[in-house]
Symmetry: C2
Subunit: 170 residues, 2 copies
DNA sequence: TTGGAATGTCAACAAGGCTGACTTATGCTG
DNA sequence: CAGCATAAGTCAGCCTTGTTGACATTCCAA
């Protein structure tokens, strides 16, 4: 672990373990791990004239079918213009369907088509495979800690969104 | 935890806890947490005509002073043209210094100037503050698990780079 | 019924990735 | 020493994906 201080055991309540060096290692771990996290889907997408933004849209439409554009916007944290460009190509290519709202005709509800679902599967299979390998290698306790820290790192708004998705998802 | 299966306890060696739903939650946690992770430095940088790419360069030059351009390239995983654009503005603005190598004059060794160090401090203070809060909230065991999973998620090359930085850093 | 709010679209621009082609300076090896 | 390899930098041009601004449509409430 090579942290230059004590408190390396697992049971310590010590508050001294948060040296700048330890925090910096966490920061770098996040950076390098995120690269791995996105690498596999990126590889698939690069052959398809799509990018990471398309992946994100497809992921969350699959996760919450029938979501409105506005809702998707707040999940993704981009401007509606930015999302729209991505969405348009997905609709043109027949991966996403946009249905006018029944009660409020201003709204568009988004669904994956069969082709869209198929791509979603391909992408998330790749990502899950890596995730599964990492989880297996690290073990259940590490996974629990991993999730706890990630959640604590989110902005409150994002944490709320994250929880809402979890409720609907299971 | 509401995962629809058993194996929710912490001590299980069960291999059944890796449902697609659990993995997807991990994926979403990564996504939302990374947003939080970059939010604070991004805010500082947006007022300064710099972006995330500048932050990364500054971070790793600070971490490994005297690094060559080539070495920085392999850490960041971008092309030299892409890095060069960023590096040029940092040098022009007097945040980074580029010294011709003493033994091999083809190489350029990169250092932060005082102004560069100052900005680095501002940026990493912001990022560390969030990290520290998350670590505190999650506790030492969770932090250990967090790091273990992140490391398992990296590509082997990145893991090697990550370890090399840790050795030099401590 | 009319004005404001919400929703979605179009256009233009910037950051920061990428490839490809090339130059310059230097190191190394036959 | 000649010639190839390596490190760095530059120019040009492309793509994705973020941004703002302007605008059309729709809903709802005063």
């Amino acid at each position: 672990m090579a942290d230059g201080h004590g408190a390396s055991g697992h049971g310590g309540e010590s508050l001294l373990y948060l040296t700048d060096e330890q925090l910096r290692q966490g920061i770098e771990a996040m950076f390098f791990a995120y690269r791995g996290f996105t690498a596999d889907p990126d590889r698939i997408l690069s052959g398809l004239a799509y990018g990471r933004a398309h992946h994100r849209a497809i992921h969350f439409i699959n996760r919450a079918p029938g979501t409105t554009v506005n809702n998707l916007l707040s999940i993704l944290g981009v401007t509606k213009q930015s999302l729209n460009r991505v969405l348009r190509t997905l609709i043109e290519d027949g991966l996403v369907e946009s249905r006018v709202g029944r009660t409020d005709k201003r709204e568009r509800h988004l669904y994956l088509t069969d082709a869209g679902s198929e791509l979603e599967q391909r992408l998330s299979d790749a990502q899950r495979t890596r995730m599964r390998a990492a989880y297996r290698a690290a073990g259940p306790e590490a996974v629990a800690g991993f999730r706890t820290v990630l959640e604590a790192m989110m902005d409150p708004d994002m944490r709320r969104t994250y929880h809402k998705l979890r409720e609907s998802g299971t």
